[in-house]
Every structure is written in C-alpha cells, then in structure tokens.
Symmetry: C2
C-alpha cells in the first residue's frame, strides 16, 4: 500500500465491520464490533472504536489512512451527510458525517449502502466499463443503485435509486420497515420474502427437506433455504425459483426503463447463484422489450459478503479522488 488507504465501515443493524482498503479495493486489516440494540452514544463509540482499531493496525505497518467512508442502510441526505430515516439504527437526523469527521480527525463520506455497492461494482466489479447499469442487493430488504449516462444517479435529494420499492404486484403483500406500500419488489424478492415462500412451501410438503427443517423448529431464513437447495432439496429449489421469478419481473422493469448494459444482483440471497438468477433471466426473456432484453447482461455481484464495507471504502476513495 504505497499510496495510503481508507477505512470503509459497513454499519448494519446488528454489527459493524470496518476494514482498511487500498485504491484497488484490496482489504488489509479488519475489525468487527457488535452494535445490536444499542443507544446512540454506544453505537457512535463502537464506530469510533472500530475505526481506531483498524487505523492503529495500518499505522503499525507504517502506512496512512486518508479518509473514512460509511455505508448506511437507510435514506441518506448525501450532501449534508445526515441519515434522514434509519430503520434499524438510532441515527435519524443526526449530523453523522460532521460528527464523525470531528471525532476521527479525517475526511468522512457517508451514503446509502447500496449506492456504495453500486460504486464498487461499477468501478472495479461486475459493471466495470459500462455507462448504463443497475444494481439490486437482495438482503433483508432490497437496495438499489443506478449508473446512467456514465454518472451515478442519486436523485434530486440523494433519496433515489430505491429500486426495491417499485410496485410489481399492486395488491401483493404489505411491504416492510418504513415503506407504506404493498407488492413492492422488496415484498416479493427479498430474503424476507424468500423465508415467507419457503415456510409456505414447507407447510404443504412436510416430507421435503424444507418441511423437515420446519418441523424440527429451525428458522427458514435465506441461508438455510439456500443450503438445502444446494443439497438438492426440490422444495428449497422451488422456493428460490418463486423469488427468482419475482426478481425477473423487477429486472424486466429495469431493462425497459434503462436499456442498461448490465444488471448486477448482490446481497445475501445471491449466494443461491443460478438457482435464483436462471428463473429471473427466463422471466426477462419472456417479458422485456426487444432490443433491450437481448442487450442487458444479468450477472451476480463481484463483491460478496464484504460488499457493504468495500462499497463504503469506495465512497471514501471516490471522495478523495483515489479510486482506481
């Protein structure tokens, strides 16, 4: 790391991951802290502690930290660095960026976590070299990112690219968190929706792997469904296909709206790989308009489990003009 590095911080609802990252998005040091259920002062202290821990490791190796980036899973006013609405963290309406800059004595950059993931995938990942790209991150909710005309688009207030909150089935199930709508893509194709579909299928097919897991009292969350599907359980494969077909409806909309070169799919659910992407591609082939449907590649994200932290680092590297 001859050119110095930045620290990226993935600030989730239950834990925070901080990492020292160089301009090519290689990770050099890491620190993880729990943040579950804490009050505001405790969360801020944990953040500062994690950054100091990583910074000490960097400086012990005679290198420098030039900036810190934060990706937060909520609506961000990126110009002011304020979390406008935070579902799982006690940070709403806090001047987070300025506060952290003061406590850390370093330049600080803050944005929505999916915008950070889009930046990382665009500059160094699965959307590299494109001018028109969209990203969906399938986790507990669904985040979105957009690059159009060679520029990352965040909307007029920095609250845009909420691609998970496209209505795809107006009379569908209620959405979650602060979303007042129903039948959003997030309600149909997130990890939460996968768990709901898996439970429904498990109840109807008690002899299947999914059914036996339900009977034994295990929680049918995304990782278990994916594990059972990879082991060949047809019921688990069917649950992923239901979610994959809804994902395909969402991607159809993105293809028709943006005529993109690539749609990148990340987040925890993409651990299922082709079990969720193949049904999605089938729906796009059936439903999207030509020539956009032939033109758009639909691919998994390059950056996997650490995409939140790497995206946050990308925000900081981009902010100081150092991103490769």
């Amino acid at each position: 790391m001859s050119t110095g590095c930045v620290i990226g911080v993935d600030l989730g609802g239950t834990k925070l991951l901080a990492g020292a990252v160089d301009p090519a998005l290689n990770v050099h040091h890491r620190a993880t802290h729990a943040a579950r259920g804490a009050d505001q002062a405790t969360v801020l202290d944990a953040v500062v502690g994690a950054v100091h821990e990583v910074r000490d490791a960097v400086e012990a190796a005679s290198q420098t930290v030039d900036a810190v980036g934060f990706g937060i899973p909520c609506l961000i006013d990126a110009r002011r660095g304020v979390a406008v609405m935070a579902v799982n963290l006690p940070l709403a309406n806090l001047p987070f960026r300025d506060l952290m800059a003061e406590r850390l004595g370093l330049p600080v950059f803050v944005d929505n976590d999916a915008n950070g993931a889009m930046l990382a995938e665009w500059r160094l990942g699965a959307a590299r070299g494109t001018h028109d790209a969209a990203l969906l991150t399938l986790g507990t909710g669904i985040g979105g990112g957009l690059v159009l005309g060679g520029v990352q688009q965040r909307g007029s207030q920095g609250a845009g690219a909420e691609l998970g909150h496209m209505v795809v089935q107006a009379d569908g199930p209620r959405c979650q968190g602060n979303c007042p709508s129903s039948g959003c893509l997030e309600a149909m194709a997130s990890g939460t929706a996968l768990a709901r579909e898996a439970a429904k299928i498990a109840r109807g097919r008690p002899a299947s792997g999914l059914g036996r897991a339900l009977a034994s009292g295990r929680e049918l969350a995304g990782p278990l469904v994916t594990e059972l599907a990879h082991d060949g359980d047809p019921a688990a494969i069917d649950a992923l296909a239901v979610v994959g077909r809804w994902l395909g409806i969402g991607i159809t909309n993105l293809v028709n709206i943006f005529n993109p070169e690539v749609v990148v799919v990340g987040g925890g659910v993409i651990a299922a790989g082709e079990l969720v992407l193949a049904p999605a591609r089938e729906v796009v082939a059936e439903r999207a308009l030509s020539p956009s449907r032939e033109h758009a590649r639909i691919v998994p994200a390059r950056f996997g489990a650490e995409s939140g932290m790497l995206g946050a680092a990308a925000l900081a590297l981009d902010g100081i003009g150092a991103l490769a």
Copy 2:
C-alpha cells in the same frame, strides 16, 4: 422569426402533422396529411410533401428552414436514425434519417416521440429548470421520457425510458402492440385501459351517462369518457379515477426510483386534468417513500395536442444547438 426555424413532424399511425417552429417553440405554419394504412413509399412521399408544403410557406415569408425533426412512436436507434420496431407504420429497419436528409436536403433528427415531448417539457415546459424529471404520455399506449442529473437519458442503445412498460400488476391484463408482458402500466392506465374500464363500468350501470352511451352504440374511447365526466356523469368520473389510481402506482415507482423534482403527465388522456391527476396524487401520498413523495410535483404537460410536433421540432432545434 429572425433566427430561422425548423420543421417538426409528428408521424402518427393515422395522420402526420408538420409545423414550422421557432427556437421558443412558437408555431408559425402547419400542414396535415393522412397516412392511414399506406405502404412505405406512400408514407415517405406524404412526409416529403408535408415538409415541402410548410417549407414553401416559411420561404414565402422570406425566412429559412434550418433542420427537420421527426418524433416516431416506436423504438428508435437514435444514433443511426433507424426505427428498430414500428408498430403502426411501415418503417421498420429503414435508414429513415439518412433517407430523409437526402430527399429534403436538410439536417434531419429522429427520436422516439416521448423523448421529444420530454425535451420540449424540460427546456420550455412543465419541467423547465429541473435536473431530475420524468414524463409519461398517456395515449393509445404510454410513452416515457427521463432527465436525470441534468441530462436526458435514453439508455445504452437509445431504447430506454419505456416507462409505460413497468410491470405494476404482474398477473394483470395482457399488454398491447409488441409488448409480450402483462400488467404493464400501459395495460392499466393508457387510453386503451380507460376505454376497457369505461366499458366494464357502463355494463354494470346502464342508467349512467356511460351506460346510455354504450347502449346507443357509441365507442367508449377516452375523449367521450372525458366529455361525460366533465359533464358530471359519476360513472365516467369513476372510470377516470380507476385509471388515475393506476397512474398513481406508476408515478409512485418513478418517485421512489428517481427522487425527481417533477413528474409531467401528457398525452390525450390528460385532457381529463384533475379527474385523473387527483386520484394519482392520492396514491403517491399513500404509497411512495418519504422524503421523495413530499418533494415531487405531479403536473400536467404544458404542451398539449401539438406536443408530438413540438417535441419533434425541439429535437431538431437541440440538434442544431438553437433550442431556447
């Protein structure tokens, strides 16, 4: 017209309208020709005839024509000036721009009609002065236009901004034309959808104005429904409200995806004004995310019946760098 003007041509499926237009989008001369059911050579001759007619009128007033613009209701490869797919006109895969430039001896610009309408509304209409705006044109189908980050966005092949082909009710009615999908916004909120909803309501309420119109054998197309609604017929008002609420679902998606300053609604159906916009605004208030929902204005287009021709003129004026 001291600075010269351009000719804009709205090339519809049944008639073509050509007009001489100055840089502030004032119209000075007009010509209308029928084009219904004609073969390719006849359509091209009619186009050339209409342009010559308007050009003669301009030159008789000692003024000049600097360029010609065409707005065509189909997918356009804007870089090559070729209509990739034309639903109602025998122009598919014709090198339309180059052919017209040769026959007319003038610079020629060609784009999708809704992209032209977006350009006109953005530069001189209801979206003037904004950096992030979306447009929907509600006619037989639904066209779309997008301005994001201060740049008009057409996608990687010029086939983007097909906002009418967002799926909003995946198991809804089949879409129309070349669209293979179901439950697109176009299938729920276009003039075609309005006629379908009006017929359904008319059958259930034979004593209403709509019901009597149906019984007398009249076609329940958009203009008649709007006329009956303006005259106070509750059944016609209800039909417009159904379409308006679906329009609101589509606008909710645009608000969440783009965090725009304004969403402009044009096309024939917007003759119903608040009868369709008020229900749409209600749905956006119920369903879209904050702060985007409070921020986005939802307004009718400035340019009405001649928006196609003015949009085509705007394309030509923009092409030669003369648009006000």
